[in-house]
Symmetry: none
Subunit: 489 residues, 2 copies
């Protein structure tokens, strides 16, 4: 050791002694000692390469046990401030880089300051589409069920359970689909997901593969298009007419497609129900290829049908058809649950399950037993029926409010189902501005009304606004229509 570092070391030892190592409340002695040593090294009191006093010497000088000193020095070594050299003690590392010297210690006190965190969005504004009325959420029943389930949690709830979802919930979903959608499936074919986006990713990765083409409705659901593109698929747009997906155009234009995503119950966003003849053509198109193409049926809000019997789901039409069914609890309960599901039969099921295993399940199990019990008790079906009556009234309120305040500017037809209507721009208004401008003016007046043109991947063929009515009562709907009229004058 050089004499310079000998001097340094004396300074260091003095500085240590001057510290008066006190046992701070709750902090073990060796932590305090490590802290003191660290501070001395960072302050430059002990330079790079200097040898630390032996543990025996330090223990004696500081009147602490030797094991305390050893623990503190081990800590410094682990942190990289010091290093042992075989058979010759412990040294301060050759260079404690500037970055450490500059880094300020953290100040947890300042960390609770939330000034950079934007305020959460307020309650949804009319006419936000796809928004159920959260005041109607059966929260008292759910609070009771949460308490019951979590007080005495089933073992599968906490240990991760089945990656495809809690079995009790999958059984209830299979029952629900049998009763409501004419789908004959069993719990093993149901995979609980965090929503349609995850389901589409699983299909893309597990069944189609990067580079594959998928036919999408035009206009259609922009999030689905983004998810599929991000998963490496090439979207092919197929036009939609007043009956829904133009299956003849699909057959002409999407020969390369390995799959087609379709909303047969109620086209999103235009609202058409795909007639039976087209459904059969669609299945025939899928089978014309070997291996067959996939039909992905997104049945996002079929529970809300106000008039007439719903057509059974595509998947219910033919048990052997290459159809995968997507459903969601976002519209019937709340999007906060992030719970949806897919029904996947063999030969596709095993590959989708493998895709789940490959990168991990995403749906929380937290609410799955609660939802399963809610469904099993019959409360779920009652809730849907109640919301159906409520939303039917609200649709009538919207039709009336538009006729009263916005007649001549928008044309809007009642629909037998759904949570929104599409208001087309009448010629007078369309001559003055496009739907994006209408939507912007509405936004400035506090009204959410997405422009129909934003649902087109290519040039929009129609101009209009999506007006959601499910989440808002008649007086809110009327007031919003009045405000929108004022914003357009």
């Amino acid at each position: 050791m050089s004499s310079a570092s000998k001097n340094d070391q004396s300074t260091f030892e003095a500085s240590l002694l001057a510290l008066g190592l006190e046992r701070r409340g709750g902090v073990p002695m060796h932590v305090g000692l490590a802290q003191a040593l660290r501070t001395r090294i960072l302050a430059g009191h002990l330079p790079a390469g200097a040898r630390l006093p032996s543990s025996r010497a330090l223990a004696e000088e500081l009147s602490v046990s030797r094991s305390t000193v050893v623990a503190a020095i081990d800590q410094l070594v682990a942190e990289g401030y010091a290093e042992g050299r075989r058979g010759s003690g412990v040294y301060v590392v050759a260079e404690v880089p500037e970055a450490v010297l500059q880094s300020r210690p953290s100040t947890p006190a300042a960390s609770s300051d939330a000034h950079d965190d934007p305020a959460p969005p307020g309650p949804p504004s009319p006419f936000q589409p796809a928004q159920p009325d959260m005041a109607e959420f059966p929260h008292a029943a759910w609070a009771r069920l949460f308490q019951r389930v979590w007080r005495d949690p089933p073992p599968q709830l906490l240990s991760g359970g089945n990656a495809s979802g809690l079995r009790e919930l999958r059984r209830e979903i299979a029952r629900h689909l049998g009763a409501w959608r004419g789908i004959d499936c069993h719990a093993g074919e149901v995979i609980v997901t965090s929503g349609a986006a995850e389901a589409l990713e699983l299909i893309a990765h597990g069944l189609i593969g990067s580079g594959g083409a998928i036919a999408l409705e035009e206009p259609g659901y922009p999030l689905a298009r983004r998810v599929l593109a991000r998963a490496g698929l090439s979207p092919l747009s197929v036009p939609v007419d007043e009956q829904g997906l133009d299956v003849a155009a699909l057959a002409r234009q999407a020969k390369m497609a390995a799959a087609c995503l379709v909303t047969p119950s109620r086209h999103y966003p235009l609202g058409a129900t795909l007639p039976l003849a087209r459904r059969l053509e669609l299945l025939a198109w899928a089978r014309r290829s070997d291996p067959p193409r996939l039909v992905i049926e997104d049945d996002y809000d079929s529970e809300y049908r106000y008039h007439g019997q719903p057509l059974p789901a595509l998947m219910g039409l033919d048990a052997a058809a290459p159809v995968i069914y997507l459903g969601s609890f976002s519209k019937v309960l709340s999007s906060s649950l992030r719970l949806g599901f897919m029904v996947v039969r063999e030969p596709f099921r095993a590959r989708v399950i493998a895709a789940v295993a490959e990168t991990g399940a995403r749906a929380a199990l937290t609410a799955q037993p609660v939802l399963a019990r809610f469904m099993a008790s019959g409360a779920f079906a009652r809730h849907i029926r109640r919301m159906r009556r409520l939303y039917a009234r609200r649709q009538r309120a919207l039709v009336k409010a538009v006729a009263t305040h916005l007649g001549g500017r928008f044309a809007l037809e009642p629909a037998p189902a759904g949570m929104h209507l599409v208001a087309s721009l009448e010629a007078g208004l369309a001559g003055r501005m496009d739907d994006a401008e209408v939507s912007r003016r509405a936004r400035a007046a506090g009204i959410v009304a997405p422009a129909l043109s934003t649902f087109y991947a290519g040039p929009p063929r129609r101009q209009g606004l999506l007006l959601g009515y499910a989440g808002f009562d008649a007086s809110a709907i009327d007031a919003a229509a009045q405000r929108l009229a004022a914003a357009l004058d």
Copy 2:
């Protein structure tokens, strides 16, 4: 191929032919064939390791198209019954795991019966790693909180709230990180995710972009590698030594990498803590490029440290470094919650938030207010401290059990942190079999002990078993070590 397996194969082919493959109503031919093959494998007519007949031969013998045979075999491979070996055909997997043998294959015909849904996995078996003890989950407190929150739900809970997570929870996470990990961040920099996999996808899509390269630790976390590869990134393996990531090798070998994923607190799975000097080199490496490379710090179980103070997180070292921090509640509470988080500072934050918006948030809000209140009350910190004491005792129990029952076969060092230890194969055992074989024998004895070699993307440099101890009490640990010893004799 040995003559024994040749005989087996003839038996197998005869058994296939005897099947009389009939087109069952609505079931595609390849599904029926896959089913037939599966049944034969499960019945033991084709033993482990045996080669399947070529698709050409099978197609001829069964008078079906070759594409039907290929589809059926692809199916078996996807299901894990068979595996392809480069250039030499398809083989029955070395061992069809018990779990598969117990679960019966699905039979689409009997679709409304739930008997096709394999029973959910039982409680976790020793030595499953990364498994907290679920009997210790604070379920009574959670049941009360669930009831309180859901009886009178905050508006943000049901209407979807902020896509980056409930603000109250993000605030509590920021506070926790300040106090426990030395990270000075605010709630706006915290994004709640459904786990590390989603966080990695957001980084891949929002900050790196398809085709970008990312450096990964070798050995490392296989799920992370799969997630990143699926998101379009090219993984580059960088070796790990007894101090963790070899940062010098990183600098030499990963010049093209846009990012590096690292487990500095405790390397996964080997357990080293990255020393300060390497941490600083790593940050210097990131900054040497313009724009800087990203360092993704996966701090997956840093709460469980039994001796010494943890090194502050990399992100706590330097507030301006290009570091993104990943944390999880899977290890401290339960993986069932599917709740994790990332801390992302500007200039990265806005792009990650945009990536969330692009394809939708995945983390359920269901438990977020419950967790926020659990953290705010101090119960979370108490729970961690209690688990820490418990798991420290269990680690000692594991060390003792291995020394008692498995001495001479495995070498295993106590560690100051974590939820598992790596038991290296001693020369005698390693001379008889590799770690994959040891793991298979353990599995057959009801013991889960992943082979270290499966954590390598390339040729494994070390052979060992991961022995998780957190989820199992001392007597279960001792009994499992005894069973493992018996299984290896």
